[in-house]
C-alpha cells in the first residue's frame, strides 16, 4: 500500500516538473521522493548545477577545434569567436591551463608538416593571448601529420586534419 502511494506521488511530481522545467528533472530526481516539496523549491535547488561554462554543451566553449586552409596557419573568421571565447574564459579562470595541439594533413613532407602544425598552434595561442589569456596558461605542441583524426586520402579527411585543438588540462 505504501509503495503505491510513493509511486503516485512520484508520478505527480514528475508531471508537475515536466510542465515547468523539463531539463532539470534528470539532475534532481531523488530529492522530491525523500521530501515532497513544492515544485518551485526543486527548481531552486537544481539551479547551481551549471557552474562552469566549459561544461555547458550549448556554450561556444564546447567547441575546441579551429580548422585551417591548406598550408595556412591563419585562424579563419568562422573560428575566431570560439578562440576568443576561450581566451576570455582563460582570462577569467587564471588557474586553468590549456595545450594547443597543431595538426596538418598528410600532404607535403612530414618534417615541414611538424613545423606547420607548430605554426598553427602558435597562431591560436596568439589569439588566446590577445583575448586576455596569459601566455603561461598556454602550452603548444605540434603533431604534424602524425596523428590524423580522419584517415582517408581525400579532401574530406584532410580538411578534418588541418586543425588545432584547444585541450584543457
Amino acid at each position: 500500500m505504501k509503495k503505491i502511494t510513493m509511486s503516485v506521488l512520484l508520478i505527480s511530481l514528475l508531471a508537475a516538473c515536466a510542465t515547468d522545467k523539463p531539463v532539470e528533472v534528470a539532475s534532481a530526481p531523488v530529492a522530491p521522493v525523500a521530501a515532497p516539496a513544492p515544485v518551485a523549491q526543486v527548481a531552486q535547488a537544481a539551479a547551481p548545477v551549471v557552474t562552469d561554462a566549459l561544461d555547458d554543451a550549448n556554450s561556444i566553449l564546447a567547441k575546441r577545434s579551429a580548422f585551417f586552409d591548406f598550408d595556412k596557419s591563419v585562424v579563419k573568421a568562422e573560428d575566431k569567436p570560439m578562440v576568443q571565447a576561450h581566451g576570455k574564459y582563460l582570462a577569467e579562470n587564471t588557474a586553468r591551463k590549456v595545450a594547443v595541439e597543431g595538426n596538418t594533413d598528410e600532404r607535403g613532407s612530414s618534417e615541414y608538416n611538424l613545423a606547420l602544425g607548430n605554426r598553427r598552434a602558435e597562431s591560436v595561442k596568439k589569439m588566446l593571448v590577445v583575448s586576455g589569456a596569459k601566455a603561461g596558461q598556454i602550452a603548444i605542441v605540434s603533431f604534424g601529420e602524425e596523428k590524423p583524426k580522419a584517415s582517408g586520402h581525400n579532401e574530406a579527411a584532410w580538411s578534418q586534419n588541418r586543425r588545432a585543438d584547444i585541450s584543457y588540462k
Binding site: S109, L114, A115, N118, F143, K147
Partner: protein, 408 residues
C-alpha cells in the same frame, strides 16, 4: 615486370623497367644450396635484376659447379656466368665458393671462397652480387647496405632496420606513439630519430650495436629532423624553442648547441653536403616551400629550386653534384633530382604520391615512400629513372625510409 616471392615472404617485390645496356648473365644454382634456408643463387639473381643493369638468362638445366665442368659453347648467349658451391661445415658455418666467368674470353673474372656463420647466407649472397655488380659497372654495389624506415600498423609504430632488398627486418624500437625521421650515422652504427613518447617531438640517438639509446634534444617545443655531418662529429637538428622552426648544430652527445638559421620562416629538413661545408634545407621564407643552400657556419642562404609549386626534403647525392627532393606540382608529389651545375631538374616518378627520397650510398638508386592499394610501401628508382621497384610489406604502412651508408 618480374615478381619475386620468396619462401619466407615478409615482402612482395615488383620490378619494372630496364637499364639502357643490360648485361646478359646466367647464375647457375650453387651445388649444395638446397640444404640452406636461402638459395644463394636466387638472392644474387634478384639483386642483379633489381639493379636493372643485368638481364638474367635461365641456365636451361645446365648446372656446372666447377670450372672443369663448364662448356663455354653452352653459354654463347650470355656475357657472364656465375657458378659455385656451398658446404655446411661440421661447426655449422657455411663455406661458399664462387666464380664469375667471362664466357666470350673464356676466362675467370672473379673467384673467391667465403666462410661465414650459418645465418649469414643472405649476407654472403649480397656480397657476391656486389662483387659482380662492381666488376661490370665499375660502381660499388649497395646490395650489402641497409635501410631504416618506420612501419606503422594501427597504433603500433616500429623503427625497422632491414637489408636494402627489404629482407632481414629487425625492429629497433616499438612504440604506440609516432616515430619519425630516422637518420644514419655515417659509420652505420647509430640511428638518430624523432618520437612522440614524451608527448611532443623529441630527438633520440640509438646504438644499433648495444641497442642503448639516449635523448639528444628535448627542448621546449618540437625537436626534429636530425641529420649527421659526414664526419659524424655533429648533427643538424630543427628546434622551435626560440619561435619558428630553425636549424641548429649539436654534438652527438647533446653538447655544443648552436643556432645557424635565423629567418622568421620555417627552416627544416637539413642535409649535409658530402664535404661537410654546406647544408641543403627546405624553407617557406619565400611565398612557397623551396630548397635552399647555406654554409654550415651560417650565412647567406641561396634558393636552389624554382620549378613546380613547392619543393621539400632535399638530400645531397653521395658525389655532391646533385640533390634529390620531393617536387610538388598541382597537389601531386614526385621524386626529382637537380644538378647543381646545370640546374636541370629530372622528375623520376609518375604516380604523384612519392615522399622522403634518399640516395643509395653509390648514388645509383633512390629509396622513397609511396602508396600501393592504400598502403604505405617502399620503392626505389634508379637515378636515371629507368628502373623502378616496389617493396610491399605484409603488414602495416611504411613511412620515412632512409638508405644507410656503406659498412666499413
Amino acid at each position: 615486370m618480374a615478381v619475386v616471392l620468396p619462401v619466407q615472404a615478409t615482402l612482395y617485390i615488383e620490378i619494372s623497367g630496364a637499364g639502357e645496356h643490360q648485361i646478359p648473365i646466367s647464375i647457375v644454382p650453387f651445388d649444395g644450396e638446397d640444404k640452406l634456408s636461402q638459395k644463394i643463387s636466387e638472392v644474387i639473381a634478384n639483386d642483379l635484376k633489381r639493379s636493372g643493369l643485368f638481364r638474367l638468362v635461365d641456365p636451361a638445366g645446365k648446372s656446372p659447379h666447377e670450372l672443369r665442368d663448364v662448356n663455354y659453347g653452352d653459354w654463347a648467349k650470355v656475357d657472364a656466368l656465375t657458378i659455385g658451391s656451398v658446404v655446411v661445415l661440421p661447426d655449422g658455418r657455411v663455406e661458399v665458393k664462387f666464380r664469375l666467368l667471362d664466357t666470350h674470353k673464356q676466362s675467370t673474372l672473379l673467384g673467391q671462397s667465403v666462410v661465414a656463420k650459418g645465418d649469414q647466407v643472405r649476407a654472403i649472397a649480397h656480397r657476391i652480387a656486389d662483387m659482380i655488380y662492381e666488376k661490370f659497372t665499375g660502381n660499388v654495389g649497395v646490395f650489402s647496405t641497409r635501410i631504416a624506415y618506420v612501419n606503422r600498423d594501427g597504433k603500433v609504430n616500429r623503427l625497422v632496420v632491414a637489408d636494402s632488398d627489404g629482407y632481414g627486418e629487425q625492429s629497433v624500437l616499438t612504440l604506440t606513439e609516432p616515430i619519425m625521421s630516422p637518420s644514419w650515422s655515417p659509420d652505420g652504427s647509430h640511428l638518430a630519430y624523432v618520437t612522440f613518447e614524451q608527448g611532443r617531438a623529441v630527438i633520440y640517438v640509438q646504438s644499433l650495436v648495444t641497442r642503448q639509446r639516449f635523448v639528444l634534444a628535448a627542448f621546449p617545443g618540437s625537436n626534429s629532423a636530425p641529420a649527421w655531418s659526414p664526419d659524424g662529429k655533429q648533427l643538424a637538428i630543427v628546434l622551435t624553442r626560440d619561435g619558428t622552426s630553425s636549424i641548429y648544430l649539436v654534438r652527438p652527445d647533446g653538447s655544443g648547441l648552436k643556432r645557424i638559421s635565423f629567418s622568421d620562416a620555417i627552416d627544416t629538413e637539413p642535409s649535409f653536403s658530402p664535404d661537410g661545408r654546406f647544408l641543403l634545407f627546405s624553407s617557406d621564407r619565400g611565398a612557397s616551400v623551396q630548397v635552399y643552400r647555406m654554409p654550415v657556419d651560417g650565412g647567406y642562404a641561396e634558393r636552389m629550386t624554382f620549378e613546380g609549386n613547392n619543393n621539400f626534403s632535399p638530400r645531397y647525392s653521395p658525389d655532391g653534384n646533385s640533390f634529390v627532393f620531393m617536387h610538388s606540382t598541382r597537389g601531386q608529389f614526385y621524386i626529382a633530382t637537380q644538378d647543381f651545375k646545370t640546374k636541370q631538374v629530372q622528375v623520376l616518378t609518375d604516380v604523384g604520391w612519392e615522399k622522403k627520397p634518399s640516395f643509395a650510398p653509390n648514388g645509383k638508386l633512390i629509396l622513397f615512400a609511396t602508396e600501393s592499394l592504400g598502403r604505405g610501401i617502399l620503392a626505389t628508382v634508379s637515378s636515371d629513372g629507368r628502373v623502378k621497384q616496389k617493396m610491399i610489406p605484409q603488414q602495416g604502412d611504411i613511412r620515412e625510409p632512409m638508405w644507410g651508408p656503406f659498412l666499413k
